[in-house]
């Protein structure tokens, strides 16, 4: 451990005396069974903004990797591709992938930055690798700026559920800068006709005695657009009574608008929707063109996940007071609900009447 530390310090010292070298980022391009993860395309855009070379890393099972490499080689911003194939990478876990990255980053690696999306896998992997290399890491960055002359990179990232923005600099004393990227802050990299990125294979590092085994992955199947990337989202809250009512009220609206379905934490906790639909500080952060919040009061933690949406619509009702005492039990009217403070189009109405009417009139 001590030896590794002094090697890294020596490298850092030599780097700061050397002439400015352009950055070289390694971007983790994730896929699920051959289907590219859109968050990785945002990570690629962020990597390109550093201003130097960008190498994409694709890992997976033999039957998937070549297909993914073919899909990414024309992406704008990608200079080269490394791909590594192993049955162990078909359901990758940090314990089996970390050794590959450690090997790639040992022995004077060319890479100055390691970049990924804030996907569940990358969030679990990158800090593990960073710590093994005695390096800090930064998560959920919303902007990136690299200064080659000082070999320092400056990031912005949200803190306190997005109620403040922190501007952080990683100086030259950090030789390899690890960061994960907030997908909604960087446009997805597009394919272009210019030259293809060269790809080369990378020997996998087989892990024979992993302390962890992948047992099972179950993904909720849906024909709807994926919440993380949909241009339109219809989201429901606690007011939707139960799982059947949640579905029967929101699905027709989502279908009419071609939208993905989301949910507030309260709705997920109450069992109305799967946890993968939760929008918020600790769920998914989305920034679609249209966000329709139905029966959602708008807790700070929910707003953190959707306040960057281009157009926000809110439908929520005023609860009629059944007895004068209710004013003490529920002093805040729903028309004053925080969601209306961020909504561009707020409708105070009974959602069980308003939503079907909205569906009907949208389709007319």
């Amino acid at each position: 451990m001590l030896r590794t530390r002094s090697i890294i310090s020596a490298r850092a010292l030599s780097r700061s005396y050397a002439t400015a070298t352009p950055p070289h980022a390694l971007v983790f391009l994730e896929h699920r069974q051959g289907v590219l993860d859109s968050g990785s395309l945002s990570a690629l855009t962020a990597a390109e903004q550093l201003g130097g070379k960008v190498t994409g890393l694709v890992i997976g099972a033999p039957e998937h990797v070549q297909g993914v490499v073919d899909k990414v080689k024309n992406l704008k911003g990608l200079t080269s591709i490394l791909h590594s194939t192993s049955p162990q990478y078909s359901e990758p876990i940090p314990e089996t992938v970390s050794p590959l990255l450690e090997k790639l980053l040992s022995d004077s690696p060319p890479f100055t930055h390691i970049v990924s999306a804030t996907s569940s896998f990358a969030k679990s992997l990158l800090p593990r690798v960073a710590a093994k290399l005695n390096s800090p890491a930064i998560s959920d960055v919303t902007s990136v700026e690299h200064d080659s002359s000082s070999n320092s990179t400056t990031f912005t990232r949200p803190i306190y559920a997005g109620n403040a923005i922190s501007t952080v600099r990683a100086p030259s004393s950090i030789p390899i800068k690890f960061f994960t990227v907030r997908g909604t802050a960087f446009a997805a990299a597009q394919s272009h006709d210019a030259s293809e990125a060269q790809s080369s294979p990378l020997e996998p590092v087989e892990v024979t005695n992993s302390p962890t085994d992948h047992v099972n992955t179950s993904l909720t199947k849906s024909d709807r657009p994926d919440l993380g990337v949909a241009g339109r989202v219809v989201s429901g809250g606690r007011a939707l009574k139960d799982a059947e009512t949640f579905a029967s009220t929101l699905h027709p609206l989502a279908d009419a608008l071609g939208a993905a379905v989301g949910a507030s934490r309260a709705a997920v906790d109450a069992g109305y929707a799967d946890n993968s639909l939760q929008v918020g500080q600790t769920g998914k952060v989305v920034a679609p063109e249209l966000y329709v919040a139905i029966g959602i009061s708008g807790a700070i933690q929910h707003l953190a996940g959707m306040k960057d949406s281009k157009l926000i619509v809110a439908v929520n009702k005023v609860n009629p007071l059944s007895t004068p005492l209710d004013i003490y039990l529920r002093p805040i009217k729903d028309s004053d609900a925080p969601i209306f403070q961020v909504a561009d189009l707020g409708l105070v109405a009974d959602l069980f009447e308003a939503v079907p009417e909205l569906v009907q009139k949208l389709k007319a």
Binding site: S120, S124, I165, L347, L358
Partner: protein, 266 residues
Amino acid sequence: MRPSAIRLLNILVPVKRAVDYSVKIRVNPQQTGIDLNAKHSMNPFDEIAVEEAVRLRERMKDAVKSIKAVTIGPPKSIETLRTALAMGADSSIHVEIPESAPAPEPLAVAKTLQEIIKRQKDGVDVVILGKQAIDDDLGMTGQMLAGLLGWSQATFASKVEIDTVKKEALVTREIDGGGQEVRCRLPVIITTDLRLNEPRYASLPNIMKAKKKPVEKLTPADLGIDYTPQLEILKVSEPPQRVGGGKVANVDELVAKLKEAGFTAV
């Protein structure tokens, strides 16, 4: 003839004192940070971690030998340890840093925990901590600790089962788009997600009992860890303010405004 040795579990629960989730955050005028004169409490994900440790003991009884809480923070952080002790932890460690010191970075926290684990005579079998702190929202400490130790990790846990005979943990995790089950050989680092459990409120008798439970005091120097930040925080600023408050009178007006903005049925 003795039965095959069942490992008695020693559980370590790192907890953090953070600004309470209900506080309306204000950036200070100097733009160096947020106004910390506000209510603080245990990071909600760490409450879930303490709760899970206590529930493991309730389920597994004597198989859980000890639950130890640890915090790194200024003198006031002792309140966070007292909360953990009141919820059911047996003992605690306070790594005290000055009131004015910046919060340690995740790598420094992980190194501290690694050193503390090394010094536990009975060893540590399970470390349960929150998946992220609601102040910095970094979400990296658990993974970094697992990397430093080379241990198994299970992040974003929504269900934990431990088999002391097989010496493994079966953890269900929340991942993008669904769930995943992993089998982890002990020792293991587990980070908690929101739906793992609902933390209890400590009862008054337990709060009183907690005052007598041990708090071991340490300093970073005792552990040989340098807390000098490696990253430089240049500025903390307010996010662009969202101007909202627009209202429509009825569904017809809503449909019309949506159409104006280019949103119609597909």
